[in-house]
Amino acid sequence: MLDYLKSPVQTFQDFLILSGRSFRNVTKRPIYWNDILMQMDSIGVGSLPIVALVGAFSGIVMTLQLSRALATYGATSQTGQVVSISIVRELGPVLTALLIAGRNASGIASELGSMKVTEQIDAMRALGTDPIQKLVVPRLIATAFMQPLLTAIADFVGLLGGLFIAITIIGNTANQYWSSAIDILALNDMVQGLVKPFLFAIVIALVGCFYGMRTTGGTQGVGLSTTKAVVVSSVWVFVIDALVTQIFVSLT
């Protein structure tokens, strides 16, 4: 029983050690700007189409679902409010995080995992670079910087999707939709909507790097760590979401 519990505790401890070293290295020299920019391009710009697409559809679907409920209470003029609150607070950050976890935690874990099993990480250390500095820190910075931006874009596109349904099916005017959507948003919502993706990004990048760096057992091991990285980072997204939501709810 004790052995059964030991392994997850050990894994978590290793994760904390990697996280600690990564945070310490963020401000240390040398800073690999080229790697940071490349990762920003691959994580940020590369994820843009899928994030926008999913954002738009989540806005469309949610507005469709809400249209009947709102009509029951004769509150269709409030469509904008409901859509913007749920997208900015929850759907935007979480859906974007899940997409980034699926697309980038897996990408990071498989790339670093392949480097690990082909001894490229050892080679890096042998040839004078710290793999944390060269591989983990650029991915961490790039994800933490790009994910809030991607979330903001997903929120906006989601609101556009909602607007489309509100005009064509519910019969709102654009003016009515936008004014109710924007009026309801308080500072708390905006901060919440940007703090969440920032925290999700840190966890996604670190979990991806963590499982990549501890890959063993050849190509099979790479597949295994990729799967683990996606599953674990997705679970953490929900755990952190619950914690942060609780904090913000108690603040208001």
Partner: protein, 286 residues
């Protein structure tokens, strides 16, 4: 007696309760060549990684170039590692970098070695020409054959003019002709740049070449240093590893004379004949 370049004192290492190195002692002096023979999993690779402190031992001390590297921080190790070249088993080349950038990598990233761009380009070219791959600068590792990747790995390991070169199974999985080329390059590096060499391999022929061949500048090839049937030795020590300890350490003559059933397999290339059945395998019983 000069100070050893690499010294293992009673080094033990275990992974998940499995003993990988069992009280290993080793002293490599400048100009020596060490050939580590051993079956897969006998601890050859891990010994080379310990020598560069890519892995830390559980107990014992390791001294590299006069520094005790057993408990040094990663940042303090970079300086010392820059004087050692290492070729990894599959080459360990960076897939995302071109051949030129791969070979330039140690020069660009090791503080002691950072120089002007022109000098780096010159040294990269020289190092690649040394392994006769001067024409592959712009290629990527995925475009090269297995033997060429190993040669680029040798160029990268030696571009810094290291005092000690470590080679991990440089000829594994290669055809005999390519394996011969790789070993010639190892010998060329050893002779022309006076590099101390530690080479892990499972091929006895690699050891024979290292012990008996010299680089001949005139013919641009290796030549035997002693007539056939005689041993040149050339400061070469053979070590046979078995399950984390040294089953044998000595010269080529001593190795060939060994009647230990495990050790002699590396010379005979087949399991030792069973007592009483010797004749059937074409060798005398032990």
């Amino acid at each position: 007696m000069p100070e050893p370049i690499l010294l293992f004192e009673d080094v033990c290492l275990s992974y998940d309760d499995k003993l990988v190195l069992d009280h290993v002692n080793l002293a490599v002096y400048p100009g020596d060549t060490f050939i580590l023979l051993g079956a897969a999993g006998s601890g050859k690779t891990v010994l080379l990684k310990l020598a560069m402190s890519l892995v830390q031992p559980n107990s014992g001390r390791i001294r590299l170039l006069g520094h005790d590297i057993t408990n040094l921080k990663e940042t303090e190790l970079f300086e010392i590692r820059s004087e050692v070249g290492i070729l990894f088993q599959e080459g360990g080349l960076f897939d995302s970098l071109s051949v030129e950038d791969n070979v330039a990598y140690p020069l660009l990233n090791q503080k002691r070695l950072i120089t002007g761009e022109a000098e780096i380009a010159g040294r990269v070219k020289e190092s690649l020409e040394f392994v006769e791959l001067g024409h592959t600068l712009d290629k990527f590792p995925s475009e090269l054959s297995g033997g060429m990747r190993r040669r680029v790995g040798i160029a990268r390991a030696n571009v810094t003019n290291p005092k000690l070169s470590l080679y991990d199974s440089p000829t594994a999985g290669l055809d005999p002709i390519t394996a011969y080329t790789i070993m010639s390059l190892v010998i060329k590096q050893r002779e022309l740049r006076k590099t101390t060499t530690v080479l892990a391999t499972h091929r006895y022929q690699d050891g024979t070449m290292a012990a008996n061949y010299r680089w001949d500048e005139a013919s641009n090839d290796v030549v035997r240093a002693a007539p056939y049937g005689q041993y040149a030795n050339l400061n070469t020590t053979f070590i046979v590893m078995a399950e984390g300890h040294f089953a044998f350490a000595g010269t080529q003559q001593q190795l060939e004379a060994s009647r230990d059933p495990y050790v002699s397999q590396f010379v005979l290339h087949q399991p030792p004949p069973k007592i009483g059945l010797g004749g059937e395998r074409g060798h005398l019983p032990a």
